[in-house]
Amino acid sequence: MPFTVAEKILQAHSPEEVKGPGQIVRCTVDMVLANDITAPLAIKSFAAMGAQKVFHTNKVALVCDHFTPNKDIASAEQVRVVREFAQKMGVTHYYEGGDCGVEHALLPETGMVGPGDVVVGADSHTCTYGGLGAFATGMGSTDVAAAMALGETWFKVPPTIKVQIDGELPEYVGAKDLILELIGRIGVAGALYKALEFAGSTVSALSVEGRMTMANMAIEAGGKAGLFTADQKAMDYAKAAGHANPRSFAADPGAAYERVVAIDAGDMSPRVACPHLPENVKPVAEVGQVPIRQAVVGSCTNGRIEDLREAAAVLKGRKVAKGVRLIVLPATPRIWRQAMDEGLFTTFLDAGAVVGPPTCGPCLGGHMGILAAGEVCVATTNRNFKGRMGSLDSFVYLAGPAVAAASAVAGQIIHPAAL
């Protein structure tokens, strides 16, 4: 039977014969992840299960990235719970402080996840690793606790939507615009319970980082996974990162897709998702005049070095508009150092931006960039739900790094070419 990428990876991790969508299969997992918000609940469930040890001390990652550097006493207490658990269990991959970064940027760059892996994480953006060719999906804390104890989990084999993207990307159009375009077309429930599989010449030309940006937001369409076939570029990335055993899985000719969505990238302009849903997507030119108070460049979606370079290229020789806060959060210490070494911080500081530590912080309304009532933010993050970044009466527009940087300069949402 011809298989999709999702079916192939699941089959490689299950003793049961994968027959097709809807079937429940038990799979082994290669990495299990939780963060400072979700790990405390997982640890509670782990204890309730009577588990004495994690299934593998190298295959559990505990990354304290959401409210860190700890924003208050309660969040510090939660991190303490995670730290003590990690110590007690002998978990190798525990991160807090100077070696810590945004989990979905940190795990790929350190080779903890890679092509062909099955990864479950107590964080909805675990699907990011699909950009590397891994079957990766978010779950709740108790599911993750069971995976930590047993080294396996269960999946319903998802039907797959194929997303065929061809054409050469115009200037200022990138991976974020492609995924926003898709979410705009199929809606926030368009891939509910399903896998997305990306293919086409545009996707082949994209960097591995760009692919992770796209896979990251599969969940914003309701998807279980956003998958790419690991090509030479992805395999090289994983090997360079130190991944021990990357495996590439391509779809078979004749694999069954629920539907095919075709996007002509050559025709596109930058996209913006307007409040209060990621599916409210418009070309930036059609957003109208929207003055902003804050811009954020960072997060698991767009906090990688390419994203920072893209923002810096727009900001070079320009100033952030008076009364606008531009907050730049490189996603990991390695990215932070690279940005510093490349001189990007000089550009950011000259422009009047704030450069902060690696943290999820403002994306989820945690800290380091919370919005007051009436404030408008353009962010390279992934969600613009009502109240997501602060007050219920604030507004979040989602965009790529070039649009976010240009908007910070203009003081309103703008096409970078219009600066």
Binding site: S75, Q78, A122, S124, G140, T142, D143, V188, A189
Partner: protein
């Protein structure tokens, strides 16, 4: 087991930031989370709820983050059942794992109004609307998930598996 209570109806794509905003995620305590349940939809929303009431929602309920705090908050607020057009995937798994009863009814959700007096029979997959006299039939619980429920939820299931491993 049947549940009878007043329906509280919410719209489409109710996300987990609406159910329990991130600023409240500094605790795992059900009562504390319950006290702030739906604070991201409307401040003070939860004050209308009496213990045992039933949440009724449109499509894609629970979309967004994987926070298990969302079903815990709903339970902690005294809402034992959510009837929705459909659920977001992670929330659906989490609900089961936390013992929150979730019933997916599709378009029939239009026949369940705000304030209606509902009686839910989770095993039979049946909702009686005492206000209108109508009965709505639901999708049955998938067999594998019923097995997990029979083992006392995922915690019980994992406990049994671990015990068998020695």
């Amino acid at each position: 087991m049947t549940y009878r209570g007043k329906a509280h109806k919410v719209g489409s794509n109710i996300d987990t930031d609406a159910i329990i905003p991130a600023r409240f995620l500094v605790t795992t305590d059900p009562q504390e989370l319950g006290a702030n349940c739906m604070e991201g939809l409307e401040p003070g929303w939860i004050s209308r709820v009496k213990s045992g009431d039933i949440m009724v929602a449109g499509p894609n309920f629970g979309c967004g983050s994987s926070r298990e705090h969302a079903p815990i908050a709903l339970k902690g607020a005294g809402l034992p059942v959510v009837v929705a057009h459909s659920f977001a995937r992670i929330f659906y798994r989490n609900g089961f794992n936390m013992g929150l009863i979730l019933l997916e009814v599709g378009d029939a959700v239009d026949r369940l109004g705000d304030g209606h007096d509902l009686e839910v029979d989770a095993e039979a997959g049946k909702i009686v609307n005492h206000t209108t006299g109508e009965t709505v039939q639901c999708m049955p619980v998938p067999a594998f998930m019923a097995e997990i429920l029979a083992a006392g939820g995922l915690v019980g299931y994992a406990k049994a598996r671990l015990a068998a491993q020695g």
